[in-house]
Subunit: 283 residues, 2 copies
């Protein structure tokens, strides 16, 4: 197949690397150096510096832009997209984006909203790596106008990219759960790092727990404020719920209540075991 | 050398596995099955079910018990420890323990307080694994009466076990920094898990960030309440400081202040980069 990619960042680049053995990959990026790098390293087959030209040649397109840029792209280029094209979008938030795009898109093409739950603390095509998709989760949030065969194709390509569980959620469900599993975790990691108050050489006094909890503090500062603000209501709700649970621990500790501490830990173990349980009813 | 181990749990078992190629390992455990398992799997050379007998035969001893049990052990068995013995203790808190032990120990033997910063979410000798010590950190909190050659020996053995950075801290410094790097991280992980509020099959919607932040929620519920309560003052201080930082994020989010969010992220990245920087001035 001919597969087009708009935006060769970490995710766009990883999609290219994951599909370039079996498909012909065309890509557009605003940055000429990125295109040159991708050609030179055989990540893509053909590069474009002109978006209109790219749109003429491609009818199956992964749109790998930041949420605000997706809206700008659809506003500006909707009329240039080939009739019956399929656009697959890959950003980390959905409700507002879907609502916005549904308002401005025309009916000539289909757009499927998806979220490959994979990433890296590194930015850019130089860090693109097929392994980050391996056994990862992929969420599709269908809209009413999506064509069934297109959804099947998006799913099949996600499988080809080695995603393990491909699930369907409404846009609202997606944003609620991502506020918890991804956005809250990043805010906790950042707040943990920011609460440091030692001048000791930390690297000598840490174990895996600190490493694990702070790896994601190396965050893409251009992307994440957009994601957080866009999902503000859900995220504030999750932070508040977390604060309640943290206060439970603090109070048990203040009271030196080892029974309460043990109960809180038992609760956590039981929830975690259940939540992480793999079953075979994947779609 | 003849090396004795009291308590063949995850850490005692791992010490045995790390040293049993070059030394003769004797071990005592309250549980006969544990001793049988350790003998059968060639983790130790000789097992004891009688502690007094063990103490007669061993003068270099790793004391791998929970903090409260260490105090009980010293109270009850101080007079049975061979003259000029060296006891190396390995628990995760220091100030109260050191103070307590200094009160009750006699002068016939030396005791060195150390903290191998390594562990696992699993409990018991079956999960003992030399790899958890590889390139990990080791802290020694010397006391005034420690004999210099004994400290050198404890350090040399830690190197033999493949620890990378062996650092010296006062007991108070140790407890302050561990409250942040280890205890706070565990409480954040537990609180994150406890704040779940979905019935969706979580495992299908998570990425590495959630996995990383919740791995340590599988906690040893017998050990950690002791560690937390023992270090209560420091830990409450760290939780409070974390809460302040978390509130900064929440407020920036409420105000949809992307500049403030970006600044908080930049702050975190800069602290994290500096804190994790490896240098070569290890002791």
């Amino acid at each position: 197949m001919n597969i087009g990619i708009i935006g060769l960042g970490l995710i766009g680049g990883t999609i290219a690397k994951s599909l370039n053995k079996n498909h012909h990959i065309n890509a557009y990026d605003i940055n000429k150096e990125t295109i040159n790098y991708a050609i030179k390293n055989k990540i893509i087959h053909k590069g474009y510096n002109n978006l209109e030209e790219f749109l003429k040649d491609n009818s199956l397109i992964y749109l790998c832009l930041y949420p605000l840029d997706i809206v700008h792209f659809i506003e500006k280029y909707s009329s240039k997209i080939n009739k019956n094209s399929l656009i697959i979008e890959i950003s980390g938030i959905k409700t507002n984006l879907v609502n916005e795009i549904e308002k401005i898109k025309n009916k000539n093409y289909d757009i499927i909203f998806t979220h490959p739950i994979a990433g890296s603390e590194k930015i850019g095509i130089r860090y693109a790596d097929e392994n980050i998709f391996k056994d990862a989760n992929y969420i599709i949030t269908p809209i009413k106008t999506n064509i069934e065969t297109n959804i099947k194709l998006a799913k099949r390509l996600a499988k080809e990219m080695n995603f393990k569980n491909i699930s369907f959620l409404t846009k609202e469900e997606h944003d609620k759960i991502i506020a918890y599993t991804s956005q809250l975790t990043h805010i906790l990691s950042l707040s943990l790092v920011n609460s440091i108050d030692t001048n000791l050489k930390l690297v000598n006094y840490i174990g895996d727990s600190y490493k694990d909890l702070t790896r994601i503090a190396e965050i893409n500062t251009k992307l994440w404020p957009q994601l957080f603000i866009d999902n503000k209501e859900n995220l504030i709700e999750k932070i508040t719920k977390f604060q309640v649970e943290l206060t439970e621990f603090k109070n048990a500790l203040k009271n030196e209540d080892d029974v309460a501490l043990t109960k809180l830990m038992e609760k956590s173990k039981s929830i975690h075991n259940k939540a992480m349980e793999e079953t075979d009813n994947e779609s």
